[in-house]
Symmetry: C2
Subunit: 187 residues, 2 copies
Amino acid sequence: MTRLPKRVDFPVSDVRRYLEPGPIILVSSRRRDETNIMTLGWHTVLEFSPSLVGLMISSANHSHRMIRDSGECVINLPTTALTDTVVRIGNSTGAEIDKFAAFGLTAINAETVQAPLIGECHACFECRLHDDALVERYNFFIFEVVRAQVATSPKHPETLHYTGDGRFMVSGRMISRRSQFRPEMLG
Amino acid sequence: MTRLPKRVDFPVSDVRRYLEPGPIILVSSRRRDETNIMTLGWHTVLEFSPSLVGLMISSANHSHRMIRDSGECVINLPTTALTDTVVRIGNSTGAEIDKFAAFGLTAINAETVQAPLIGECHACFECRLHDDALVERYNFFIFEVVRAQVATSPKHPETLHYTGDGRFMVSGRMISRRSQFRPEMLG
C-alpha cells in the first residue's frame, strides 16, 4: 500500500511552475457514474490569471467525449514513481476497463468539479472548460484551473517527458539563473 | 569560437520527439531587415500531419508583431550549453538590441521562410502560420512546421524546462518502456 502524498493548496496563477516544463500529465474525468484517466503530453499554459491551460485531447480517446460532455477535468501530475502506471494508463482504454480499479489508484473527491483527483499524484489541478472554439477543428480545449493542490514533498519531483516511441526523458535536476534575471521577469 | 552543430533533415511529422517534452525554445523571426529572437515555454504539439504546433506569443513581446506581420518563424531548440544565452535573450528586448549580434549567435538562412535559423541550436523547425483564430483572444498562434533539421549529436541532448522565477529543470536522461507499449502506440 503506497502512502498518498500530503497535498496543500497552491495558487492557481502559479501552476506554470509544474506545467510549463512540459511533463506527461494524467487527465481524469467523470460522466455520471463513469470515471476515466488518460495520459497527455500535448498541453500548454496560456495565461496566468485567469489561470488558463490548453489541452489537445484527441477524439480517438474515450476521455474526449466525457470531458466534452461534462466540461470538466482534473490535471494530475505523476512523478517517475508512477512511470509504469503512466504507461499502463496510456496503453489501455476506458471503454474497456475502470482504470482507477485496474491500476490500484485512489479516486479522491474534488472540491469544485465532479471529476476525481488521483490520490497518488504530486499535484492536482481542477479544471473547468473555458473556451471550446478550437475543439471541433483541433481537439484543443482551453480550461481554467479553478483549484490547485500540490504535495509538500519532494520539493523537486522527477517528472516524465514523453518523446514518442515508448521513451521518456526524465526531468528533475534544478538550475537557477535567478541572479541574471531582470526583477520584473521574476515572481 | 563555438563550432556549430551539424544538422541533417528530419521528418516534420516527428518533431514531437523534441517539442513534446516541453523544452524552452528560441523563436526567431524576420520582418524586412530586422531579425529577432525570443524565449518561449508556452507551446504544444497539436497534430502529426500536417505538423502543427501552437505557440503562445505574448503581445508584450517585440517578436509578436514581427511574427504576426510576416506569418513565419523558426523554432530553435537550445541545449544546456546555451543556458546563459537563453537567459540573456529572455531578459532583453529586440526593440533595443540586435540579439544575434549582441549574443554572438549565427543567423543562417532558412530554406522555406525568411526568418533565420540559429546556427548554435540543436534543432531548427521552419514554421508558417496555419491558423490565427486564437491570436486576438489568447495570443495563440498555430503554425505548420514545413522543414525540420536536427543535429546528429549529441543523441540525447540536455534541454532546459522553465519553471518560472529564474529556475529551470534539466531534462536529458532517457528511460524506455517500449516493451510495455501496444505496437500501435509506437512509431
